[in-house]
């Protein structure tokens, strides 16, 4: 009974995990522009893998050699690194952008400074010709 329940839980975790992993990559393919794309993988894939790892722990506990919580380490690792990686990649994308949001320490009133990034994307594409090979 418990085993069946656990199995059901595992399958659920798997389904959710795989869905989000897929979602991350799908966003990568579907969205236009870097800053649109990055939202999918950083959240979706990370959560997805987390779920799958959890599923794995449960699965191995039930069907395999016992409880191996060390896979949690990977989850921890991923959750620690994924946002920082996203931060860095955004930083990199920003550095390639023309007309990037100027540093608020040099502008008097930075708050509420909003830009639609459509023209940024255009600029970005213009730069891609030479900067990104």
């Amino acid at each position: 009974m418990i085993a069946t329940l656990l199995d059901g839980f595992t399958v659920l975790l798997l389904a959710v995990g795989c869905f989000f992993v897929f979602l991350g990559s799908f966003a990568l393919v579907k969205m236009t522009g870097f800053f649109h794309r990055i939202h999918g993988p950083t959240k979706g894939s990370t959560l997805g893998v987390g779920c799958i790892l959890l599923a794995s722990i449960v699965y191995h506990t039930v069907h395999g050699s016992g409880l191996h919580p060390r896979e949690l380490l990977i989850t921890v690792f991923l959750f620690l690194t994924a946002p920082v990686a996203a931060h860095l990649m955004s930083r990199a994308a920003l550095s390639l952008m023309e007309g990037r949001p100027s540093d608020p320490s040099t502008t008097p009133d930075p708050e509420g400074h909003i830009r639609d990034d459509a023209d940024e994307r255009a600029a970005e594409r213009a730069r891609e010709g030479d900067a990104s090979p």
Partner: protein, 162 residues
């Protein structure tokens, strides 16, 4: 004296747990090894880095963590909707979020949390470390969002990293 012997208790604890988790073996030998590493690693790290995180109210981390997990799940559902929906409806843009946090560890944690939560990705920390540049996938009221962030995450963070 304590700082010489155990420069950072959180780190020691982390390493200890990390080793035991990884080794999956709770024999005496392994415990000893874990203890040894828990003692040596922070010493080593102390040589390599300038400052350790000074922690304030750690207890607040538990509700924060729970809230975070919930937010992450919500974030993902939101993102799923946004990704699967028509892209043209999205109103994306950058926002400079002013920070009250001064502790770099706190800022890092906040930045990470913001990235993991709905529709935001932190892209840059201003040079004076007083603003975080955030990209929002869909945004109606930037001011509200800033306030949201400051309330939900920055406030607890300021307690953890005073």
């Amino acid at each position: 004296m304590r700082r010489r012997l155990l420069p950072s208790i959180p780190q020691s604890l982390t390493v200890f747990a990390f080793w035991l988790l990884m080794a999956e073996d709770f024999s005496a030998g392994n415990l000893l090894m874990a203890l040894l590493l828990a003692w040596v690693m922070p010493q080593l790290a102390a040589r390599l880095q300038r400052e350790f995180a000074r922690l304030g109210n750690v207890g607040i981390l538990v509700p924060l963590g729970l809230k975070l997990i919930w937010d992450i799940v919500v974030a993902n559902i939101t993102v799923a909707r946004q990704v699967l929906g028509p892209e043209a409806n999205l109103r994306s843009g950058f926002v400079w979020v002013p920070l009250d946090l001064t502790n770099i560890h706190g800022i890092s944690a906040l930045a990470s949390i913001m990235t993991l939560t709905p529709g935001t990705v932190t892209a840059e920390l201003s040079e004076d470390r007083r603003y975080l540049l955030v990209h929002c996938l869909n945004i109606d009221d930037p001011q509200k969002m800033i306030e949201d962030i400051k309330r939900r995450y920055e406030a607890p963070m300021r307690k953890v990293f005073p």
